[in-house]
């Protein structure tokens, strides 16, 4: 059986030297005591702000448990636009936000009633400008206060560097063996390499075998959310030309695995199960409607094989 041999539709074989994470730049190997300290700290620091979490990790000479590294990465992701702007800066940003809103309103108005509506929208909006900006600033302040407990300290990193830093923490967690972090690393790896520059080709070429290796590793661990990533890869044509049939196979297999719950060999993290399938069901139905009967039958066999695949 192809799947048992590690042959997945559309996914290249793992190469011999594929790794699931980059070698850490930090050559330090931690002592058992340091790791115990890290473990003790782990339960408490996830409640702290970004700054507190990073400070604790620093105090532990960089020793960090995988779930803390994931949490720090997630926190940066969550707080990528967090800002501790002064009131003056907020006023300036509010005026800009008002202009942006006005332009958007004009576009909507033009869609609904071309010609006359844009001017009317602008005139009406300008009457309420000051009020709108004041409310916008109030919202920002409230939001900042709410987020401060989680995002405090994020401003030490420039906004454009936060996603890259988040990726670094996931990569670190992935290297420590955390499955969720590995899945996140796989999902962000190519994006993080900035594929919109042709000069990134070298980095992409180096990443490819590592990503493929990590995907195989998660498949062999039967970590179900990776099937969604495979569906996305198939839709985008990451390893081979885009293939709706294979996208359907992976998406449909995930749908059935999640619907079966914790029965069977596949790991389905509870908190992610529903989130993973948001929007997927609709997409699967659309793809299914386009598959010719023969392809549909073949795809169905693959889906059954994936769902019933025994544990490693």
């Amino acid at each position: 059986m192809a799947l048992e041999l590690g042959l997945w539709p559309g996914l290249p074989d793992p190469t011999a030297d594929a790794e699931s994470g980059r070698d850490t730049d930090d050559p330090v190997r931690y002592t058992r005591f340091e790791l115990e300290d890290a473990e003790k700290a782990a339960s408490s620091i996830v409640e702290g702000s970004y700054a507190e979490m990073v400070a604790t990790v620093d105090e532990l000479s960089g020793a960090v448990k995988a779930e803390i590294a994931v949490e720090i990465g997630d926190r940066l992701f969550e707080c990528w636009d967090y800002s501790e702007r002064s009131l003056d800066e907020l006023e300036e940003a509010g005026a800009q936000a008002f202009e942006n809103k006005l332009r958007l309103d004009e576009i909507f108005a033009a869609q609904m009633a071309p010609g006359v509506a844009e001017q009317a929208v602008r005139e009406m909006a300008l009457l309420d400008r000051d009020q709108w900006i004041a409310e916008w600033i109030a919202r920002q302040v409230t939001e900042r206060e709410t987020k401060e407990a989680r995002c405090g300290g994020v401003e030490a990193l420039p906004r454009e560097e936060r996603m890259g830093a988040a990726f670094g923490w996931w990569e670190r967690a992935a290297a420590l063996g955390d499955l969720e972090a590995k899945a996140q690393w796989i999902g962000m790896a190519f994006h993080n390499a900035k594929p919109w520059h042709a000069g990134s080709a070298v980095e992409l070429a180096e990443l490819k075998p590592r990503v493929i290796g990590a995907v195989h590793e998660l498949l062999s661990e039967r970590y179900a959310p990776i099937l969604l990533q495979l569906m996305l890869f198939e839709r985008q044509g990451t390893f081979a030309l885009p293939n709706p049939k294979r996208a359907w196979i992976y998406g449909e297999a995930l749908r059935r695995i999640v619907e079966r719950g914790s029965v069977g060999p596949w790991l389905v993290p509870h908190e992610r199960a529903d989130a993973e399938l948001t929007g997927v069901r609709e997409e699967l139905d659309r793809i299914e409607a386009t598959l010719p009967p023969a392809q549909r039958r073949e795809a169905e066999e693959w889906v059954r094989a994936i769902v019933e695949l025994p544990a490693r």
């Binding site: 869609q111 000069g199 080709a201």
Partner: protein, 350 residues
């Protein structure tokens, strides 16, 4: 697949083209057979296949980039594979790849056939369209209906008006229907264009790029340096072709350096661009960029026109060019100038 043009055999005249535009596909289909008998055979003749990877063809080596050769048969027969008879190669004595960009649309299928057969000039003319088709796949009808159908199109879900009158609603619906039709027509035209320019295998574009690097047709370096569309940067395409593209980038930079040292002024004037950004390199090399920029500035008009401006210089400083680097760049530029241009380019020394 493809437009009616790829059925036309032989040489087309301007009057033929006008007739095509006005009388449509039926007339064309009827005249195709007659055309084959009346017009000359396609000007693309049997040729040897491309065999020498990494070597510049005799044609291209002799041609200075940017100097367009208008389909000289003796030159074109050197290294290309034969193409079928149903390919338009010339329009009123002008090679089809030398037509202005806005007049190439009816000949995209022919340009693709020529590119597939190893005619890199055709690829250069095709690339601006084909690479865009990779970057943004034309939407399907199903997607357009999901986005723009007047009743619950995704584009309108955020638009809710509480107190609209029935007549407002009717007018709005009509406007939305018209918009959906416009979008569908546009998408259909784009699908046809992409089908002609690219076919169903976008990865073939990578092969055309490699082929062009081997052949270095006139205008290759200029197009690669001036037009960001030449290399598609769609994530899927980039990842699938990453290894080949990485090799291509390396090969391109080597070939570029060779062309600079050979003193091709059009290339010397803009080579700095290759080192200033991440178009061919993982990271910019501001020292190399500035060294090449200084050489470009010493060229006479019009070759110095693409030389870096003060704003470009500012960007290089921001990319990491410090005073010490500027000194190094100046020394490098002197060496480069002596090698590439001091004797071969007629210009007064500054």
């Amino acid at each position: 697949m493809g437009s009616g043009h790829c059925r036309i055999a032989g040489k087309m005249t301007w009057s033929t083209r006008r007739r095509w535009f006005t009388s449509g596909v039926l007339l064309l289909a009827a005249s195709a057979g007659l055309g084959w008998m009346l017009f000359e055979q396609a000007h693309v003749q049997r040729a040897h296949p491309v065999t020498s990877a990494g070597q510049v063809s005799g044609v291209s080596a002799s041609a200075r980039s940017g100097e367009s050769t208008v389909g000289d048969e003796s030159e074109l027969n050197d290294v290309r594979r034969p193409v079928g008879p149903n390919v338009v190669t010339r329009v009123d004595e002008t090679a089809v790849w030398n037509l202005p960009e806005d007049e190439r649309a009816p000949f995209l299928a022919s340009l693709r056939s020529l590119a597939e057969a190893g005619w890199s000039e055709a690829f250069l003319a095709l690339a601006p369209v084909a690479s865009r088709c990779i970057l943004r796949t034309p939407p399907t009808d199903a997607l357009i209906i999901r986005l723009y159908n007047p009743d619950d199109g995704l584009s309108y879900r955020h638009l809710r008006v509480e107190d609209e009158s029935p007549s407002d609603r009717a007018a709005m619906r009509e406007e939305r229907m018209a918009r959906m039709e416009r979008e569908r027509e546009q998408a259909m035209r784009k699908r046809e264009r992409c089908d002609n320019a690219l076919g169903d295998d976008p990865d073939e574009y990578m092969q055309w790029l490699e082929q062009a690097l081997i052949q270095q047709p006139p205008g290759f370096f200029v197009a690669m340096l001036d037009d960001l569309r030449m290399v598609p940067t769609e994530t899927g395409w980039m990842v699938r072709n990453a290894e080949r593209l990485a090799r291509f980038n390396l090969g391109f930079l080597n070939a570029l350096r060779a062309r600079v040292v050979a003193g091709d002024p059009k290339v010397v004037g803009r080579a700095w661009k290759a080192f200033a950004g991440r178009q061919f390199m993982p990271e910019p090399d501001p020292v190399q960029a500035w060294a090449h920029g200084l050489v470009a500035r010493r060229l006479p008009e019009p070759w110095s026109e693409p030389a870096p401006t003060d704003a470009d210089y500012q960007r290089l400083v921001e990319a990491g060019l410090d005073p010490e680097d500027i000194g190094r760049a100046r020394e490098m530029s002197e060496t480069l100038w002596r090698r590439c241009c001091a004797t071969s380019i007629p210009v007064e020394q500054p």
